[in-house]
C-alpha cells in the first residue's frame, strides 16, 4: 500500500486506484508447496533457450505430457530433457544436436521429478 502525501485539502486523484505492486512470485509460481528452483549446468537444452547457469522454476504439481520440458531421474541421475511419448515408447530428447536422445527401456529406472515451467536467464 502506498501512502501518497499531498498538501491538506487536495485528495490525490490516484488514491482510489492504488494497487499492490507486481509480485513476481505470484506471477511465476502457482503451487508454492510443490515448486523448486534448480540451477542449469550443461548445454543440452540450448535449442529452447535454456543455458548453463540459468535458473529453472520446476513445478512438481504439474502433470508431464508429451512435449513437456522435464527434470527426469534416469537410473538415479537427474537430467533436463524434453519428454517424448509415442505409442508407449518414452524418450528424453535434448535440444542440442551434439547430444543423442535417451530411450527409456524396461531396463531403465525412470521417473519425472518435475515439470520445468519457466527458465530465467541472467543478462547482466
Amino acid at each position: 500500500m502506498f501512502i501518497i502525501s499531498v498538501p491538506a485539502g487536495f485528495p490525490s486523484p490516484a488514491e482510489d486506484f492504488v494497487e499492490g505492486p507486481l509480485d513476481l512470485n505470484r506471477y511465476l509460481i502457482h503451487h508454492p508447496a510443490a515448486t523448486f528452483f534448480v540451477r542449469v549446468i550443461g548445454d543440452s537444452m540450448i535449442g529452447v533457450g535454456i543455458y548453463p547457469n540459468d535458473l529453472l522454476i520446476v513445478d512438481r504439481a504439474v502433470t508431464a505430457v508429451s512435449g513437456s520440458i522435464v527434470i527426469a531421474v534416469v537410473n538415479g541421475e537427474l537430467t533436463i530433457k524434453r519428454l517424448h511419448q509415442r505409442q508407449g515408447q518414452v524418450s528424453l530428447v535434448p535440444e542440442n544436436p551434439a547430444y543423442t536422445p535417451i530411450e527409456i527401456t524396461a531396463a531403465t529406472t525412470f521417473e519425472v521429478w518435475g515439470v520445468v515451467t519457466k527458465a530465467i536467464h541472467f543478462l547482466a
Binding site: A34, V38, R39, S44, G76, E77, L78, T79, I80
Partner: protein, 414 residues
C-alpha cells in the same frame, strides 16, 4: 462416523528429504546424524535392516558404515524445515483443520465419508508435490489415529482403524500414546497389559491411578474424542537455544561469541513469534563423560528491567550473566541461552528509563536485520560479539546443500 482424525507421518523424514535431491540414495542404507554428528537420528529402512539403532553413536557403528557403504549425512535443518512446511501446506489443500504436531507429523480432521481412496489421494499428492513419502492412519480419535498410523507404516502406507477391539488386544499398553514408563508399570501391576485392557477399565479407577490424563486416554481408546485438534500452536512459554560445540571451547572470547550467537538466535525466534522476554538464563557445561576432567555445569539468570526481544539488549544481559559462570582452565563442551517469562510483544510496558524514541529505533533496526537475514541467509548481519570465524560452531561435515533456502546451493542439473 461424523468425523475422522488422520495422523499423517513422514517416513524416515530426514532421510527422505536427502533422497528428494539425491535420487541415487533410493534403495541404499542412509542415516542422518544428530547435531554435532554424534549419533544416528534418522535411518532408512535399509539402514534399520543392518541393525543400526535409533540414537546409535557413530563411533559404535563405524565398521558397519564402512562395510555396507552406509551413506551418512549431518543434519540439514534448513532443508528439513523447508520440506516440512511444504508437506503441511500440501495437507492444507485437503482440509483447513491441520494440527502440525511435529516436524514430520500432522493430525487432520477429515469428514466421515473419508475412505481408503481419499487417503491414497492425500498420500500420492504429498509424494508427488514434495517428494516425501508419508503413512496415514485414520480413526475416530487422535489416540486411535496414532495407533492406526503404526499399522499403516507396516502395511502399504494407509490404515483405517474401524473396529479397534481386536487390534487393541494385540497392542502392549506401553505403546499407547501418552502412557509413559511410570504409568505402564502401575497399570501392569494391576494386570492391565494391553491397550484393550486399558480401554475397559473403570473411569473412576483410572482417574485415581493416573489422573485426568488417564481418563482422556481411555475415552479416546473407546472412540470418544477428548483431545481437540490444536490448529494454533499454544503460546510459547520459553525459548531455548543450546548447542554442543564442534570442538572444546577453552577461552572466554570464544565462549562469549557462542553465547552471543545463541542469544541472537533466541531473540530472533521471539521477534518471529511476536514475543518479549523478561528473564534470561545462560548455562555452560564441560563434557560429562570426560575421563580426566571433573564435570562442571553452571547457570545464571538475569531479570530484564523491561520485557524485550532486542538482540543488542539481550546480548548485553547474556554476556553479563556469563561473566561469573566462566571459569578459566576448563574445557567447555556445551552452552545455551534460555529466555523465559514470555509475553506478547504488543503488551509492552514503558520503561521509565528508556526513551520511547530510542526504543522505536531499536525495533526498526531489528526489523532490518531480520529482513536481511531472511533474504541472504541466517547470520548475514550479526553483532560483532558473535564473532567472525566461529571456530566452535557445531560440526556439520557431511551436510548436503541447503537446496531450498540458499541461492548458491540450489540443485544443479545437467
Amino acid at each position: 462416523m461424523s468425523r475422522y482424525i488422520a495422523l499423517v507421518d513422514c517416513d524416515a523424514f530426514y532421510v527422505s528429504c536427502e533422497r528428494v535431491f539425491n535420487p541415487k540414495l533410493e534403495g541404499e542404507p542412509v542415516i542422518v546424524l544428530s547435531n554435532n554428528d554424534g549419533c544416528a537420528v534418522a535411518r532408512s529402512n535399509e539402514a534399520k535392516a543392518l541393525g543400526i539403532k535409533m540414537g546409535a553413536p557413530v563411533f559404535q557403528i563405524r565398521e558397519l558404515i564402512a562395510q555396507h557403504q552406509v551413506q551418512v549425512f549431518s543434519s540439514n535443518y534448513a532443508l528439513y524445515g523447508n520440506l516440512s512446511n511444504r508437506v503441511m501446506q500440501t495437507l492444507r489443500n485437503f482440509t483447513p483443520e491441520v494440527e502440525v504436531y511435529s516436524i514430520d507429523e500432522a493430525f487432520l480432521a477429515l469428514p466421515g465419508t473419508c475412505d481408503a481412496t481419499a487417503l491414497t489421494t492425500i498420500r500420492e499428492t504429498v509424494k508427488r508435490w514434495t517428494g516425501i513419502p508419508v503413512s496415514i492412519g485414520l480413526a475416530s480419535t487422535k489416540t486411535l489415529a496414532k495407533i492406526a498410523n503404526h499399522q499403516a507404516k507396516r502395511q502399504g502406507g494407509i490404515y483405517i482403524l474401524d473396529q479397534p477391539a481386536a487390534f487393541l488386544a494385540t497392542l502392549p499398553v506401553s505403546e499407547v500414546w501418552g502412557i509413559g514408563r511410570q504409568s505402564t508399570k502401575k497399570l501392569q501391576a494391576h494386570g492391565i497389559t494391553t491397550a484393550l485392557d486399558l480401554q475397559q477399565v473403570d473411569l473412576r479407577w483410572i482417574r485415581q491411578q493416573i489422573g485426568i490424563v488417564g481418563v482422556r486416554i481411555v475415552q479416546e481408546l473407546r472412540g470418544t474424542p477428548c483431545l481437540p485438534l490444536e490448529r494454533v500452536p499454544p503460546l510459547r512459554k520459553s525459548c531455548c537455544v543450546s548447542r554442543s560445540f564442534g570442538r572444546l571451547v577453552t577461552t572466554l572470547d570464544e565462549m562469549q561469541e557462542a553465547v552471543a550467537t545463541f542469544t541472537a538466535r533466541a531473540a530472533y525466534k521471539l521477534r518471529r513469534d511476536n514475543l518479549t522476554a523478561s528473564l534470561l538464563t545462560v548455562f555452560i557445561a564441560t563434557n560429562r563423560f570426560s575421563p580426566d576432567q571433573p564435570y562442571y555445569r553452571n547457570s545464571a539468570t538475569v531479570g530484564l528491567s523491561c520485557p524485550t526481544n532486542d538482540t543488542i539488549a539481550l546480548t548485553k544481559a547474556a554476556l553479563q550473566a556469563l561473566e561469573p559462570l566462566y571459569q578459566a582452565g576448563k574445557q567447555y563442551q556445551k552452552a545455551g541461552v534460555w529466555l523465559g517469562a514470555l509475553t506478547p510483544a504488543n503488551q509492552l510496558q514503558r520503561d521509565l528509563f528508556i526513551n520511547p524514541h530510542d526504543q522505536e529505533r531499536a525495533r526498526q533496526l531489528m526489523r532490518v536485520v531480520d529482513t536481511l537475514n531472511r533474504q541472504f541467509g541466517a547470520g548475514t548481519v550479526r553483532c560483532a560479539a558473535e564473532g567472525l570465524r566461529q571456530l566452535w560452531q557445531t560440526r556439520v561435515q557431511r551436510r548436503s546443500p541447503r537446496y531450498t533456502t540458499r541461492w548458491d546451493e540450489l540443485l544443479q542439473v545437467p
